[in-house]
């Protein structure tokens, strides 16, 4: 009875996971398949295999501009966001002070704000200070969006650090800066790499805020929408596949480094 019950639960859970994957991956795989399809309109049966759409985007200077913008934005904002995230996580780890909870809540706030509202607020603010439409605006906006993710990842790693090891470094003659450089940063390094990849992926994919503040410096998601507004064009599938592979790679790298965290953290039990 019990075993049969377990089997049933097992079956239901497995089907559930299967369905989740089906819903997530069907559109992506469809897009991937049609990106190699010669027909202009997505329909079954498929036409012949072609690289024509990849050729189109390869020869389109607008796509290259967008890729360049996206990369600049993603790299800059991931570095900034990881830097800020590290500082917030470290202050949380190291110090106790009045209103610390308020400080942490504020640091984690951005993802809880609806993107549209955030995007509008950013647009209003950047127009006011006259930087709207510049690439810096997109970088700043994405940094704000990404910093909490970086902080969360780095904070988890810091929580695994034995508090004594930083003090041990001071005790062995390291200034606070030297202890930071030789002990704290090496310890959290996997989380820093993970945070860089994760925030890069978030920035690379982000559409709403970029659409509002990017002006002529279009990122890839903004470009995709623009092409779509014009007409239905299978080159979208090709761009989509490219974006999907880039993002997935970054997220997988982030996950791999994130998993290193348990290894290497000192535990004090002895055999």
């Amino acid at each position: 009875m019990n075993i049969q019950g377990n089997r049933l639960i097992n079956f239901i859970l497995k089907s559930y996971i299967g369905l989740v994957f089906l819903f997530i991956f069907t559109p992506i795989i469809t897009s991937l398949v049609f990106s190699f399809n010669s027909d202009r309109f997505a329909s079954i049966p498929l036409g012949s295999f072609t690289l024509k759409w990849y050729e189109t985007i390869y020869n389109d200077p607008d796509v290259w501009d967008a890729v360049r913008t996206s990369i600049i934005v993603a790299v800059s904002s991931s570095v900034l966001a990881t830097g800020i995230g590290f500082c917030t996580a470290y202050t949380d780890f190291r110090y106790t002070f009045k209103f610390k909870n308020a400080y942490l809540a504020l640091a984690l706030l951005p993802p809880t704000i609806p993107l549209i509202i955030m995007a509008l607020a950013m647009l209003a603010w950047f127009s006011k200070i006259g930087t709207s439409g510049s690439i810096f605006s997109v970088i700043i906006a994405h940094t704000v969006l990404c910093a909490p993710f970086a902080m969360a990842v780095i904070r988890l790693r810091l929580q695994q650090m034995n508090r004594d090891i930083e003090a041990a470094a001071w005790n062995l003659g390291a200034t606070e800066w030297a202890a930071m450089r030789y002990v704290v940063i090496p310890f959290v390094k996997p989380a820093i790499v993970s945070a860089l990849c994760l925030t890069m992926a978030v920035s690379f994919d982000e559409f709403a805020v970029a659409w509002f503040v990017s002006g002529l410096n279009k990122t890839i998601p903004v470009l995709i929408l623009e092409i779509l507004q014009g007409n239905v064009d299978p080159q979208i599938n090709a761009i989509g596949t490219f974006v999907f592979i880039t993002t997935m790679t970054l997220v997988i790298i982030a996950q791999l480094f994130f998993m290193i965290r348990s290894q290497g953290s000192e535990n004090n039990t002895n055999e």
Binding site: N162, A168, W170, N171, F187, S265, E266
Partner: protein, 365 residues
């Protein structure tokens, strides 16, 4: 007497409303092995951390070689520490861990390697130098922590319960490693522990702390045989503490009236005891003799065995007098074989008048 190397002068450490260390003064000479002992929360670790600069005293002055330390940051002091958690750097191998203190002092890589090697050899872990920390056993990690702290050849080594994570066999081995190391190097060891056996086995002097205050400073023998207060007498374990009132004093023999009869103790002639005063008398568990026949004389009481416990070659007995007063007695196994003990048997316990130590009544309030 040579100049003290480390001095705590009226040191107090307060956190918000709680006092961790309460107005303590302590001098330690160069080359001494001092153990600070007490139960958890007594302020012993805070005292050590103040010496390392990890806590700043609220009041008082700490000096090393006559130089005031209070304002120095941890990295400006030569007071390396062996941590209870060991606090080895998990992302560095053994060699790099040991080299750390040299690296922060700007010593060249070649020199670092050479000096680290010397200490790795001294602690018999040279063959592990390329290992990661998580590939080491508890005892090996302990040695790495020691090498890392000693590699800068400091005048003082601080040890914060370094053996608490090890199993019993290893503790005894590391104790002899530490004792030998301290003798060979001739540097000062300040050792914090809650374990009486560790403190007594290694230290030249023991400092007993309770509730942020120092209860007694003395050699292990002093603390064991002549506890300064009832707290110390209870803390150092196998003592019998008897309360009573002074009935008479005849020359150097004091007669104490207790719940189970008259107890006689030797006192020095000039001691100031008055008839009617309340007193505590301490008799060490190992100072009590047992006999199967009634011996006439003072300090002899009939009793029966409540329980016995073997600890290696030593047997701990719990005895009870007719009125319920309990006595703890420790005997060598071979001594007990001689009197052929049987359970439920009636025995007589006794002690000599000069083995009953009178606690200083002023410290008991």
């Amino acid at each position: 007497m040579n100049e003290p190397q480390i001095e705590f002068e009226r040191i107090t450490k307060r956190y918000n409303n709680t006092i961790a260390v309460d107005d303590i003064s302590l001098s330690i000479s160069a080359g001494e092995f001092v153990a600070i002992m007490g139960s958890s929360g007594c302020g012993k670790t805070t005292t050590l951390r103040m010496l390392a600069g990890l806590e700043v005293p609220t009041d008082g002055e700490i000096r090393l070689d006559g130089k005031r330390l209070n304002e120095l940051k941890p990295h400006e002091r030569e007071t390396p520490m062996v941590w209870q958690s060991l606090a080895l750097f998990p992302f560095l191998n053994v060699q790099k861990n040991v080299e750390f203190g040299l690296k922060t002092r700007g010593i060249s890589p070649d020199m670092r390697k050479e000096r680290a090697k010397k200490w790795l050899e001294k602690l018999e872990i040279a063959d592990l130098s390329e290992r990661r920390i998580d590939q080491l056993s508890g005892g090996q990690r302990q040695r790495v922590a020691l090498a890392r702290a000693l590699v800068t050849e400091p005048p003082v080594l601080l040890l914060d319960e370094p053996l608490s994570a090890l199993d019993a066999n290893l503790i005894v081995r590391m104790q002899s490693v530490l004792s030998r190391l301290q003798r060979d190097l001739g540097i000062t060891f300040v050792y914090v522990t809650h374990s009486q056996s560790e403190a007594f086995a290694m230290a030249d002097r023991v400092v007993i702390m309770s509730k942020g205050k120092i209860e007694q400073v003395g050699t292990p023998q002093d603390v064991f045989r002549r506890p300064a207060s009832r707290f110390v007498a209870e803390f150092v374990g196998s003592n019998n503490i008897i309360s009573g009132t002074v009935k008479s004093i005849d020359k150097d023999i004091l007669e104490l009236e207790t719940s189970f009869g008259a107890v006689f103790s030797q006192v020095s002639n000039n001691a100031n005891y008055r008839t009617g005063n309340a007193l505590d008398v301490v008799i060490s568990a190992d100072r009590i003799n047992l006999s199967t026949t009634d011996l006439a004389g003072n300090n002899v009481f009939q009793c029966r065995i409540v329980s016995e416990q073997f600890v290696g070659s030593i047997v701990s007995l719990l005895l009870e007098l007719e009125n319920g007063q309990e006595f703890r007695v420790q005997k060598q196994q071979h001594e007990l074989d001689r009197i052929n003990l049987q359970s439920g048997q009636t025995l007589w316990l006794s002690w000599s008048t000069n083995h009953a130590y009178i606690l200083d009544s002023s410290s008991n309030n």
